[in-house]
Symmetry: C2
Subunit: 185 residues, 2 copies
């Protein structure tokens, strides 16, 4: 899975590089570890932001934090920092000897035909190599959708409100795709 | 739903009042709004912590934040601050003219018989008045389980790791109980 900080929209739909939220790094790493995700990429081209992410990583995997909280270390060991989506895809393709299927997420749009959770879950079950991409700020820019193989349906509750944090959306989506108890429903 | 900051365990299983994490307030309010939860209680007896929560609330519902981000305002309007679980239950009972069923959550323990997600979802569907309680820090203290009507099964992925943030656990649990697309699974 990847968390993209550029290119994304800001509130006015300008294309920006968003700032890293350290809570995202922790929450997404712990989600990745819980749901059996192989790797979690924090994607930003900004060098100071890359340095921030690496500092968090080092603290919890190598520094005082690793002693203080072992389970946090195990989670953050899945995290790495990458300058771009393309670099992530290349790295995955090199390691796995195949290109991943790119699934992107967006709270606001529904494309027909989008990828349903039932379909996405079946792909996970069939052990397909998937790169699941989340956007920060006001979401992935238009061009990202053209590069994607699939656009996953948005998360919805029983209301018309769908302004979750990316941390919350990632939690729900990973559980829907790889949660243990889902088949009971 | 409620987010309890006292009494909870710290890392060494001492009973403490945990500090408020402002990210929890935002993420849980937005989850509450998304999944049709009627009210979100931030529970702490510490007056400085209550003041912090109220300051966040005021900023986003009445201050600059309300102008800046309308959807955040709508979410945080569901939040209120309460000194104790008992006070919340009294308030709910007064407003709804019945006592809520108290469902508590815990990552670490499984009680036999616990409440399955299928059962909990059926209760939501049947429009039962439910108070869903989440603990912060290292979780709710033992005595809270004795007061509860039900202990919900822990969230599990396909691994043995279950160290999610309370924000992530709340996201998964609300989606399992009140998500729109679940019946497809």
């Amino acid at each position: 899975m990847g968390l993209l900080h550029y290119p994304v929209y800001n509130k006015n739909y300008d294309t920006i590089a968003s700032a890293i939220t350290t809570f995202d790094l922790h929450d997404c790493s712990r989600l990745a570890k819980t749901y059996g995700v192989k790797a979690f990429y924090v994607i930003t081209p900004l060098e100071d932001q890359q340095a921030l992410a690496r500092r968090v990583l080092k603290h919890w995997t190598d520094g005082y934090g690793a002693e203080y909280n072992r389970t946090r270390k195990e989670a953050l060991e899945l995290m790495s920092v990458s300058p771009s989506l393309e670099a992530c895809v290349e790295e995955i393709a090199g390691r796995e000897a195949q290109r991943p299927v790119l699934i992107v997420t967006d709270a606001a749009r529904k494309k027909a035909p989008g990828l349903t959770y039932t379909q996405a879950r079946a792909m996970v079950r069939a052990d397909q190599l998937i790169f699941l991409l989340f956007g920060t700020a006001w979401g992935l820019v238009e061009e990202m959708f053209e590069q994607a193989d699939y656009l996953l349906d948005p998360v919805e509750g029983y209301t018309n409100y769908n302004h979750l944090s990316v941390r919350s959306a990632a939690a729900v989506i990973l559980d829907r795709l790889a949660g243990r108890d889902q088949l009971e429903f």
